[in-house]
């Protein structure tokens, strides 16, 4: 019986993975070949999706991107024995894009069957939770503090410190609320975790519950992710049946359960307090802070709010120790970051690396340059509120401080590549359009400013008193940055200001002075 793996990740599905899996099953029957088609998830090598992997004594041999129509040819070429074929990519683990990564959080991505607990445990799963349950809750918190893990959702707040606050809060009930709203364009790592290795998120969540004294969890998943929702529900049922979720987990006396909540298409519900409002059944209006959610969060109770990747990184920290994790990375950016290459890039995919890898390595060596083959012109790092950079900044290392020095941010780790056909004025205008569409409406600079900014950009582009309107736009951006309640209004100016700084010509403006470019 030959094991053939076909991903069930939604990107692979969007390219016909189901049809490929079905074609393999049909062709196997037709030829009387003993084949077991297993639905794994994606390795994150998306330019090769659908990537079919055949298990051989020499490891898994890959073929991709496979179309259902290629399947008879693959059989004819003897792909079940790892035979030569034009779509062959050799041993998957040896593909340089994958081999050069440091996969801790994504160690199982594309390797295991996402909702097989046997597979999960065989690949190191549940070791973190087992160890946590053998420790005092406070020691678990300190382990996470020592690891240096900072929130991967965007704000980069130290996860352990947040847990300490929740652990110290006295309350009849506490919650863990997972932020799986992943609204940033160019990002898909949360989706990959939930679809490809949902147990690791649920394990991290249970550890967070144990460490902070929370008994109930919510995973707030955006509605655009139906496969992630299904995988989480399935994984939860498996864990409950095996006694890893529910009352008295494995006889430890600690009880924890969780439910999945589905968003409804609102970017702002990724902001943590808007997310809590949404879970409570209200409009996703941002709350004033303080009180912090860690003190007064969901239903007024102390709540750990963490991003999917933050929590999915916790099991390996508990399993291998804080020191092991902190040894990756540098300065105050510790551990690994799953970087997501997107947009106009030849090899789009997930790169989990220690902090410090440069944009150039990512975009050129991993990404292979633009998909169109045209010169690279701009990058947007850190989602729709992140800065645009030009190619002169490719040598920047990806860490929190280096990007902050250049008025940019790591955000959720997405990098969107643009070639030389991009119109940066259109991109800047879009940033404000998006802000206007998604604003929760609570504060004026964001609600009104985003529309005024679009008008100002339009006037500059029409050449109507461009210097005055440019000055006015800068002033408006300043007001939005300093007077908005949350980062949607507060950072929507970043893509605009950076586009003005690096690409003034696209707005019909004179070149920026060197002083304005260099921070």
């Amino acid at each position: 019986m030959v094991k053939v793996c076909v991903p069930r990740d939604s990107s692979a599905l969007s390219l016909g993975a189901d049809e490929v899996a079905a074609a393999i099953a049909v062709e196997a029957v037709r030829r009387g070949a003993a084949v077991r088609v297993v639905r794994t998830s994606s390795r994150g090598l998306f330019w090769l999706e659908p990537l079919v992997e055949v298990e051989t004594p020499a490891g898994r041999i890959g073929f991709g991107p496979v179309d259902a129509a290629d399947v008879p040819g693959l059989f004819a070429a003897g792909f079940l024995g790892g035979g030569e074929h034009a779509l062959g990519v050799g041993p998957v683990a040896e593909i340089p894009f994958l081999k050069r990564q440091e996969r801790l959080t994504f160690a199982r991505a594309g390797v295991t069957e996402p909702t097989s607990l046997v597979d999960y445990e065989a690949h190191g799963g549940l070791r973190g939770l087992r160890r946590a349950l053998s420790m005092a809750p406070a020691a678990v918190v300190e382990e996470v503090v020592a690891s240096g893990l900072r929130g991967r959702g965007g704000a980069a707040f130290p996860t352990g410190i947040k847990w300490r606050t929740v652990a110290a809060a006295e309350a009849p009930r506490k919650y863990v609320a997972v932020n799986a709203d992943e609204g940033d364009s160019g990002t898909y790592s949360d989706r990959m975790v939930m679809e490809g290795d949902p147990f690791v998120l649920l394990e991290g969540m249970a550890i967070a519950g144990y460490a902070t004294g929370a008994s109930h969890g919510y995973v707030y998943v955006r509605s655009e992710y139906p496969h992630a929702i299904a995988a989480l529900e399935e994984a939860l049922a498996v864990l409950r049946a095996a006694g890893w979720y529910g009352a008295d987990i494995q006889g430890s006396g600690f009880g924890f359960d969780a439910e999945v909540r589905v968003g409804a298409g609102a970017y702002i519900c990724g902001e943590e307090t808007a997310m809590l409002e949404s879970i409570e059944g209200r409009r996703g209006m941002v709350r004033f802070k303080p009180p912090l959610p860690a003190i007064k969060g969901l239903f007024g109770m102390p709540t750990v709010v963490n991003n999917v990747v933050s929590l999915a990184s916790v099991p390996v920290i508990l399993d291998r120790g804080a020191r092991f994790y902190a040894d990756f990375g540098l300065g105050s950016s510790r551990g690994t970051l799953p970087i997501q290459l997107a947009g106009n890039v030849r090899r789009a995919g997930l790169v989990e690396k220690a902090f410090g890898v440069t944009l150039r390595e990512l975009v050129e060596e991993y990404g292979g340059g633009t998909r169109s083959g045209r010169p690279l012109r701009a990058l947007q790092v850190g989602g729709p509120l992140g800065a645009y950079f030009d190619s002169s900044l490719l040598d920047l290392p990806l860490d929190y401080e280096a990007l902050a020095r250049h008025r940019g941010m790591v955000g959720h780790g997405g990098i969107v590549v643009f070639d030389d056909t991009v119109d940066m004025a259109a991109q800047a205008r879009y940033a404000m359009e998006f802000c206007a569409v998604e604003s929760c409406g609570k504060c004026t600079p964001c609600r009104i400013g985003s529309t005024r900014a679009q008008e100002l950009i339009d006037r500059i582009l029409r050449g109507e008193d461009a210097p005055a309107n440019h000055a006015q736009l800068l002033k408006l951006c300043d007001v939005m940055e300093s007077a908005s309640l949350c980062a949607l209004g507060g950072m929507a100016p970043w893509p605009v200001l950076s586009a003005l700084r690096y690409f003034p010509g696209d707005f019909g403006l004179p070149p920026a002075t060197e002083a304005a470019r260099v921070v």
Partner: protein, 172 residues
């Protein structure tokens, strides 16, 4: 004696007339979630799944069941892009408008699809076959441009590919 001028009695405005909808289905959804805290979004999702939209007439029924004001329920329905107050076309095509897809030509693709269907983003074709909507990232940015047809995610989308799929589901 002069006749007293009485003020006109205050009259409540006519209750607005809403189209009839399946109240039993809504009641079933409300019963299903009765014991869950923070249940409004799950309720609205389920109603929309059952009826294709959240009928304006159901707002009162939901509000009464949750002991919340109609304004509040209406406010929630209108805040979220997912909830519709009127039925969509027989098929819903969402085109991603966010940055990664822009970098791979989504603006051009959107214009082409608008021309193909004869309707703009946010509109439904005249024959009621297809509702065309914007979406801001489907998490399929490694395979941009992305789209979603009747809940199914599509990657590396071209006009030709969409035309084929639309024909297959019976556009028009």
């Amino acid at each position: 004696m002069k006749e007293a001028v009485l003020p006109k009695p205050l009259r409540r405005p006519e209750a607005p007339q809403y189209p009839a909808y399946d109240t039993a289905q809504v009641a079933a959804v409300l019963a299903r979630w009765a014991d869950t805290s923070g249940n409004l979004l799950p309720i609205l999702h389920d109603i929309q799944r059952a009826l294709g939209h959240v009928p304006p007439g159901a707002v009162g029924q939901i509000a009464r069941a949750l002991n919340r004001s109609r304004a509040e329920v209406h406010g929630v329905i209108t805040f979220y892009h997912d909830f519709r107050q009127a039925p969509a076309g027989r098929h819903v095509l969402k085109l991603c408008q966010a940055e990664s897809c822009q970098a791979m030509g989504s603006r051009q693709l959107t214009a082409e699809v608008e021309a193909l269907l004869g309707c703009r983003l946010g509109e439904t074709t005249a024959d009621g076959a297809v509702t065309l909507e914007p979406v801001y990232c489907l998490g399929n940015c490694a395979c941009s441009p992305a789209a979603m047809l009747d809940g199914r995610v599509l990657g590396r989308v071209t006009r030709a590919k969409l035309e084929r799929l639309l024909d297959a589901v019976g556009r028009g």
